[in-house]
Symmetry: C2
């Protein structure tokens, strides 16, 4: 306890707080549509303070996405490790949906704004991961139909995760959403090897 921590400059509370707020606002209003001032106001700090913790707006985005990126990379490794045998597909889908649920905000940013933010390294890396995960599900060269099914599953899931319209408030449990998502995604994915 009293000994120095292994890595002294660990992310502190303020840092994590800012990353969470930024992630929410980037997902809801878009990266371009969210200013550092708005983030600072929402967090109760000054804009200068935000820029003290993060070198730039882009760095704030990248560090906010980092945890999701890390887990996405691990998931990709586990996918390529186990060969894509048919009966393991269901387990993969379940893990993948859980990954989306855990990092729903990051997923929404990467998928919905990935096109716009293509020049940001973290975004580019994430898109590369996703591409390779998709490829691992496909035998040989993907057909148009396969790529469209995968795209619909991915983008559709990412959208649903954040859509949460004000009307018909989010009374429904996460479990219910999880179950429905696993159902629809696996239905879309299983059509890929055909």
């Amino acid at each position: 306890m009293s000994s120095i921590q292994p890595i002294p400059r660990i992310q502190n509370d303020v840092n994590a707080e800012l990353r969470l707020i930024a992630l929410q606002m980037f997902a809801e209003n878009g990266y371009a549509g969210t200013s550092l001032q708005q983030i600072a106001d929402a967090a109760g700090y000054s804009k200068s303070s935000v820029l003290y913790h993060f070198r730039s707006k882009e760095a704030l985005l990248e560090e906010s996405l980092a945890p999701a990126l890390s887990e996405l990379g691990e998931f990709l490794d586990s996918v390529v490790a186990r060969a894509s045998s048919d009966e393991l597909r269901a387990a993969f889908v379940e893990e993948f949906v859980d990954l989306l649920l855990e990092h729903r905000l990051a997923a929404h940013i990467i998928i919905n704004q990935g096109q716009t933010l293509a020049d940001i390294p973290a975004i580019d890396a994430a898109r590369g991961y996703i591409d390779r995960i998709g490829e691992s599900f496909m035998s040989e060269l993907p057909t148009t139909k396969q790529r469209i099914r995968l795209g619909v599953a991915l983008a559709g899931a990412a959208y649903v995760l954040v859509a949460a319209r004000p009307s018909t408030a989010e009374i429904e449990s996460v479990d219910e959403i999880r179950e429905a998502l696993i159902d629809v995604v696996s239905e879309l994915i299983t059509g890929l090897s055909a």
Copy 2:
């Protein structure tokens, strides 16, 4: 020819040109991420000239979306007119996918940026239309699973329509995409009445 046109102040060429360019840029880089200067540069006009044709940036967006809005409204009418008998579902899906294909840029803006742009009347109207189209497919109160399937189908389709990654360039024909989309959307939609 020499007689005055029925409605003198019809949309002229420049107007239509600007609307198309704006629609493309809004879809690709986001509404907040696209400046009037960028639109003007892309069109080869000055920013002042853009604002001469359109009262404001918001008006440019609304007028760019107008054709899609109009057709979407007509589609909604045709949906509620014919009762949603099961065997007509396929025809509905086909029409709907064609609508998405025809107005792919507008669809992408409405679905992917609808949350952010909720205070813009045209966007709000479009989201209302889509909600009502969705409701017309559902019997009684929609379950979570039903709403998720519909959300995945809509957002997934909208994403695929604009995704068109630079890699593996858009060699594939529109017909191929259309066929795949009709297939996957109808598969998702037909699960709604269950």
